[in-house]
């Protein structure tokens, strides 16, 4: 994973060659790196939690279900 992450960051850097300083200022590299980090963390935590049944009662979408479930019931009667 770290190899892929390094490649991705490198890819972003290569992408900018010859674009000039202005381009570098406008497009910081932290965006892709952060997206990769968030995704890798999510995949590792979610999959391990699924595999070893950590917090089996933990329901990650509960807040959404509470808010929009109530809204659906109130708006459409479902």
């Amino acid at each position: 994973m770290s190899f892929i992450l390094t490649l991705s960051i490198l890819d972003c850097r290569l992408d900018r060659r010859g674009e000039g300083e202005d381009y570098v200022v406008k497009r910081p590299a932290w965006g892709p790196t952060l997206v990769w980090l968030v995704c890798v963390c999510f995949i590792v935590i979610a999959y391990l939690a699924l595999l070893f049944q950590w917090w089996p009662d933990f329901h990650p979408l509960y807040p959404l279900e509470l808010v929009f479930g109530t809204a659906t019931k109130w708006l459409f009667g479902l």
Binding site: P32, V35, C39
Partner: protein
């Protein structure tokens, strides 16, 4: 970098598969949960949802003729609040993707590979979707055109053969419980599947004629509605009230077709068709998410995001919805208001913010 462009015909095909991908699996069971004899009356609500999406697309192409939905958020709400809107949009598209990814793994394991682990199925699905998204929308849309001749041959066959088992009496009595069950049965088709057409707004810069997007959505919605209507009429006509106890009514419908010992087990063809359309749907969703992330991170290309987000989407599908019941609850009880808020509420909020910013700027200019 060369801009990838798709024609109107290719867009309409993509939009049809976007609805049919999982619609053909989910819509008949969701509708018949509320009403069986009047199930066919609930299907046109899909077209109403499509009209709603077309209306939103019309406003979008009029105000932002060259921008994606995420680009329009930035233009409307400015860099900071616009980014917040984009993050919301991406999270919604991601969750829709997790539902579809879970439907994919469920369908494969239930219908054809019961002894294969869901993770293995997800890995194969993920590899296909990530590769197609990496190749780009233009090549994907061209490959998608190849599906049409196959569908033209297979669809009439799959429709005509069960027709011999269809019984008109299964549709009587009409309005056995009044309008309320029909209304409840219409909600998911209208506000979940109908509003999914609005994903096309994310591809506005990739369209050869973006000004025709609203009419293309209407065409795709009408074709999808007709196809789903035929499917619902056939399933109810053949199974009657038994349809309520079937997880995949259309699959069972195809399975019952037997003519002598020559034509049988057509469910293999149906399975292949469904998998193709679900992969197509997932790719459209994945591309919409990646291009949104591209706008958020302000990079030149979206391809760096294809692998991590695609994998997260499939893992999220397995993690968020541990079983069919959890997924069905999310689609039926959370999906309608969640998508209505995102597709209609958030752009309205953005337009209001744009107005407020415009007035504030004008006042500051006058004051200065």
């Amino acid at each position: 970098m060369r801009k990838e462009l798709i024609s109107r015909y290719q867009l309409i095909l993509l939009l049809i598969w976007l609805t049919m991908g999982t619609g053909v699996l989910v819509i008949p069971s969701v509708i018949t949960e509320f009403t069986v004899t009047d199930a066919w009356m609930a299907v046109p609500s899909l077209f109403v949802g499509g009209l709603l999406s077309a209306g939103i697309a019309r406003v979008h192409v009029k105000k932002f003729p060259n921008s994606r939905a995420t680009g329009a958020f930035l233009a409307m709400a400015g860099p900071v609040i616009g980014d917040v809107f984009i993050i919301w949009y991406i999270s919604v598209v991601f969750l829709v993707g997790t539902v579809v990814a879970r439907e994919f793994t469920l369908f494969v394991t239930v219908a054809s590979l019961p002894y294969t682990s869901e993770t293995a199925v997800a890995v194969i699905g993920c590899a296909s979707v990530v590769y197609i998204a990496y190749v780009g929308i233009e090549s994907f849309a061209r490959a998608n055109e190849f599906v049409v001749p196959l569908a033209v041959v297979v669809l009439p066959l799959l429709i005509l053969l069960p027709l011999t088992l269809c019984d008109v009496h299964q549709f009587y009595p009409v309005f056995s419980s009044g309008w309320l069950p029909v209304w409840k049965a219409s909600i998911v088709s209208m506000f979940v599947y109908g509003l999914e057409f609005s994903l096309a707004i994310q591809f506005v810069p990739n369209l050869r004629s973006p000004e025709k997007l609203p009419i293309d959505i209407v065409i795709a919605a009408s074709i999808s509605t007709v196809l789903i209507l035929i499917v619902v009429i056939l399933t109810v006509g053949v199974f009657g009230y038994t349809v309520r106890y079937l997880q995949y009514p259309v699959l069972e419908l195809i399975r019952v077709v037997r003519i002598g010992r020559f034509i049988e087990r057509l469910d293999t063809i149906y399975g292949i068709a469904v998998l193709m359309t679900i992969i197509s749907k997932l790719t459209v969703i994945h591309l919409a998410m990646c291009t949104g992330i591209q706008d958020l991170c302000k990079t030149r290309d979206y391809r760096w995001a294809v692998l991590p987000t695609g994998t997260a989407m499939f893992v999220g599908g397995l993690y968020f919805y541990r079983n069919v019941a959890q997924m069905a609850y999310f689609i039926e009880h959370v999906g309608p208001s969640y998508l209505l808020f995102t597709v209609v509420g958030v752009p309205l909020l953005g337009l209001t913010l744009q107005r407020v910013r415009f007035h504030l700027k004008r006042r500051a200019r006058k004051g200065g």
